[in-house]
């Protein structure tokens, strides 16, 4: 497929994939709790509804920031898929995440502020890994674009097993799944956070957040495919398995403190991903 077509596929099907994933997540979670759970398309109904609701705007800057959140999240994916520089895309991804933080922080209210500051911790915890991961992938393949890596004869996951393991750990943080759901939460109301980041967002504002999250999930799937660059189906299978593990962990743990999130994420990134990259030099690339 040409890059232009791939980009189109990502822009259109990315959210579909993300939404289906969220729906499957809710069904699997419900089954783990002995319930039936909602229909598979429930996330789409939810977002559809959110766009039909009125918005109660707390301040005028939140909404443009949220649109920026969606646009730059999609743009990060477009950059990755469409042949942009992979490492540069990681900086765009960080910018997208930052927009959400700012949208929450601009409410200047207790729960949103806690969510925003904690989401900054999430960013601080997860960002080094994504930069390192992309740098390592570019290093082992000698390429800098998606198609380059996919066509490379080098099997990325074989060269970077440590980074792959670390990926499994860090996406728990990136997907804001328990025990690392420190900044917001998908379930369990009545907590110290209320909804953290999204506490003061309503109607379509919340819809933008969900949409961006779907793009993010799709992008994470693309990252896994990068690891399994010799076989895209294997990569998608690996992503499904990884996501299944995330759901299991999500349903069987309680929230950790942010200190633990930060320390463990940095330790894992440094030891597994950093160590992996350094090890490549020791054995010689």
């Amino acid at each position: 497929m040409t890059p232009a077509l791939l980009v189109l596929v990502f822009v259109v099907l990315g959210p579909v994939l993300g939404g289906l994933l969220a729906g499957a997540d809710r069904i699997v979670s419900a089954r783990m709790q002995g319930r039936v759970g909602p229909p598979l398309l429930q996330p789409f109904y939810d977002v559809g509804k959110l766009f039909q609701k009125r918005v109660r705007r707390v301040n005028p800057v939140a909404e443009p920031l949220l649109i920026g959140h969606v646009v730059f999240m999609a743009l990060a994916g477009v950059l990755v898929i469409g042949g942009g520089d992979l490492i540069f895309a990681m900086f765009v991804l960080a910018l997208a995440a930052l927009f959400l933080v700012l949208a929450a922080g601009s409410a200047d209210s207790p729960y949103s502020n806690v969510g925003a500051e904690r989401e900054l911790v999430v960013l601080l915890a997860s960002e080094p890994f994504f930069i390192l991961m992309m740098a390592a992938i570019c290093k082992v393949t000698g390429e800098s674009t998606f198609s380059g890596v996919m066509d490379s004869p080098v099997r990325v996951a074989v060269e970077l097993p440590g980074a792959l393991l670390a990926f499994l750990f860090v996406i728990t943080i990136k997907l804001r799944k328990s025990p690392f759901d420190i900044s917001t939460t998908h379930h369990h109301p009545h907590q110290e956070l209320v909804r953290g980041l999204t506490s003061d967002l309503s109607g379509r504002q919340l819809g933008w957040v969900e949409l961006a999250h779907w793009y993010e999930c799709a992008l994470l799937a693309v990252f896994v495919v990068l690891f399994f660059n010799w076989s895209a189906p294997l990569g998608i299978l690996a992503f499904v398995v990884a996501y299944g593990l995330e759901v299991l962990v999500d349903n069987s743990t309680s929230r950790a403190k942010w200190q633990l999130v930060l320390r463990s994420a940095w330790a894992v990134t440094l030891v597994l991903a950093g160590g992996n990259l350094l090890a490549l030099y020791v054995v010689g690339v």
Binding site: R56, V61, G83, I87, V92, V101, D108, A135, Y281, V282
Partner: protein
């Protein structure tokens, strides 16, 4: 083109001297504004004249009529050393005078003993694209800050009646400094460059101690001591080079990778660059320098003087590339970036946050200079440009806030968008320029990672790891500041009126800088193709093709350039929202964000940022970073000694 030197160096110096005797404020205002316009015009004219010939490896020229400085250099050394010794004796501080004596001794020995091989008269000055960049940075940002200072200093003295006004001296120093900076970036003759180098040190010392309290005098001497260590390194390098075939010609020294005694001299010059750029373990002085009036911090300690350090390092880059010295310099720079970025998270004082960020950015440039590839120095030069504009702007904005809010504590900058929307917009542009992808500095960070990936051996990987962690740390402290600025609540009319008291000098200069940040971002590709890439290619002719800018990156950049103003405009579009409508567990809330509490009481909501105290110990990290970088410096000394022996 030989006229450029007397104009660039002479004009600001003469203006400075005149300002020393101008005591009436209106006259001084007029004079400073006119002189600033002239200095900018002179720098632009000089660049226009030099641009053609500077492109390919640079142009060499001398003074008008083939004059040589002769003993003037030694005379200046005597004056400088005398001044430093005078201040040292007056305040009973002996370290700096000792170093000044040592430097004077070296200069005297070389000049009077005729051990110094003088440069040909037409090789005294050397201008290439890097110099042009520096000339424009100094010539555009410098005068703007001087004009800004007119408004700032008036309010500063109103707010601090205890401080004795010495504005004549203050403005004199700013302009003399500008002259010295111009001289520094175009000089090829190392002893002459050393004079300019020491003049900037002295200006910095005098400006930090402006208020003449015990505290600021202490910080002034700390800055002086550390910079004099670098200055002594510079002198020693000249001493070594005097006996070498290449002589004290910077262009010849840095034409290709060097070894032996030459490498030892390069290491000593690099030491001077590291001290001037406040790299660890010398970072302390720049933090102390934040006690100077804010325009000083903007001009000397962020936009220009500290850039002299990395300018020298970038100059030395082709000479030290591939050597252990180069790797150690890169390591010091990048570790400094990592450590100060972490320390900045724990800092609450806005000026100190900016100082740490400045040291970090300079650390990146240092890292790039040490790595020494075409791509790396491209990154270094890009950061120099963006940092000068964006950080200069941020310092000026903080200066404005400081005079209006009477605090430098970022916790009191919250809801700034509601209180001072125009100042907030300027701050947002500055912060965006510093770290929001895909503005300049982020493009540079990304390109730096790309460049470090090409470095052979494990050091390249280590540099990439440092970059990954360091740039995430910067997201945290900038993000925290952005939350403060962007948060909104209803404010009383008194607070809304704060903005109307910002002086015209401040508005004009800050807006100009903000426009500059956006323009440079929009013209990223042009800047790269016509200015920075030719410099990188000339500095590393044998290297790979100089880094260009990905068209995709340019596209994304333009999107952000369009997007952010839309954001700002929509922020001003009021109405349609209810500020009292935040969730507080069902309690009643008010537009000024007070909320109901138990027993009918009303409590105001105070929100604080995260400082990660449990995980990050700022003071400890600062010491640890200084120790690690100090060890690297010792290693550098050992390497220098071994190669020299």
């Amino acid at each position: 083109m030989s006229w450029t030197v007397p104009v660039l160096v002479g004009l600001p110096t003469v203006v400075g001297a005149v300002l020393l005797v101008v005591r009436r404020a209106p006259l001084r205002n007029t004079l400073v504004v006119v002189a600033s316009v002239l200095v900018t015009a002179a720098s632009v004219a000089a660049v226009a004249v030099l641009a053609d010939r500077a492109g390919d490896g640079g142009a060499f020229f001398g003074l008008p009529g083939g004059m040589t400085p002769g003993y003037a250099v030694l005379a200046m050394d005597v004056v400088l050393a005398g001044t430093i010794i005078g201040f040292g004796v007056a305040h009973r501080r002996w370290f700096a005078p000792l170093l000044a004596l040592a430097q004077l001794g070296i200069a005297g020995y070389l000049e009077l003993g005729h051990h110094l091989p003088h440069l040909e008269a037409d090789r005294l000055f050397w201008v290439d694209n890097l110099s042009l960049i520096m000339i424009l940075v100094i010539g555009v940002v410098g005068p703007l800050i001087c004009v800004h200072a007119l408004g700032y200093m008036r309010d500063y003295h109103r707010a601090n009646p205890m401080v004795r006004g010495r504005r004549t001296v203050f403005f004199c120093l700013l302009f003399v400094f500008l002259g010295a900076m111009f001289g520094l970036v175009i000089t090829n003759d190392l002893p002459l460059m050393h004079v300019f180098w020491e003049v900037t040190t002295l200006c910095s010392f005098l400006l930090i101690g402006y208020t003449r309290t015990t505290e600021t005098i202490g910080y002034a001497f700390r800055a002086l001591n550390m910079n004099m260590i670098g200055g002594l390194g510079f002198s020693l390098a000249i001493l070594i080079l005097a006996g070498q075939r290449s002589g004290v010609d910077l262009a010849r020294l840095t034409a290709e990778p060097v070894g032996g005694l030459l490498l030892a001299a390069v290491a000593l010059l690099a030491l001077a660059g590291l001290t001037k750029s406040a790299q660890m373990p010398f970072s302390d002085w720049l933090i102390g320098a934040m006690y100077a009036p804010t325009p000083t911090s903007a001009l000397l300690h962020s936009s220009t003087m500290v850039k002299a350090g990395v300018f020298l390092l970038l100059r030395l880059s082709p000479a030290m590339t591939g050597s252990t010295v180069g790797t150690l310099v890169a390591g010091i720079g990048l570790l400094t970036f990592l450590f100060v970025s972490a320390v900045a998270i724990t800092e609450q004082n806005a000026k100190k946050i900016l100082a740490y960020s400045t040291i970090g950015s300079l650390g990146l440039v240092t890292g790039c200079a040490g790595v020494g590839t075409a791509q790396a120095v491209w990154v270094g030069a890009m950061i120099v440009i963006f940092h000068a504009l964006a950080k200069g702007l941020l310092f000026l904005v903080v200066g404005t806030l400081e005079n209006r809010l009477h605090t430098k504590d970022v916790e009191y900058f919250d809801t700034l968008l509601s209180r001072m929307p125009r100042v907030s917009a300027l701050a947002l542009v500055g912060i965006a320029g510093m770290f929001i992808a895909p503005f300049g500095v982020v493009v540079a960070k990304w390109a730096a990672i790309r460049a470090f990936l090409e470095v052979p051996g494990w050091t390249g990987a280590a540099f990439v790891v440092i970059m990954a962690f360091g740039s995430s740390l910067t997201i945290f402290y900038w993000g925290k500041l952005l939350i403060k600025i962007l948060s909104m609540r209803a404010v009383d009319p008194v607070e809304r009126a704060l903005e109307s008291r910002v002086t015209r000098f401040e508005w004009v200069t800050e807006t100009t800088l903000a426009v500059g940040v956006v323009a440079v971002t929009a013209l990223l590709a042009v800047l790269s193709d016509h200015v920075v890439s030719p410099y990188a290619a000339a500095a590393f002719p044998s290297g790979d093709a100089a880094a260009g800018v990905d068209p995709v990156v340019v596209g994304v950049t333009l999107l952000a350039v369009v997007f952010l103003p839309i954001l700002a405009v929509s922020a001003w579009r009021r109405g349609g929202f209810d500020q009292a409508d935040f969730y507080a567990g069902g309690r009643s809330t008010r537009p000024d964000h007070a909320m109901g509490a138990a027993l009918g009481a009303t409590r105001s909501v105070t929100l604080r940022g995260y400082y990660l105290d449990d995980v990050v110990d700022g003071a400890l990290l600062f010491r640890a970073g200084s120790l690690v970088c100090g060890l690297a410096l010792v290693a550098m000394a050992v390497v220098g000694w071994v190669v020299a022996a």
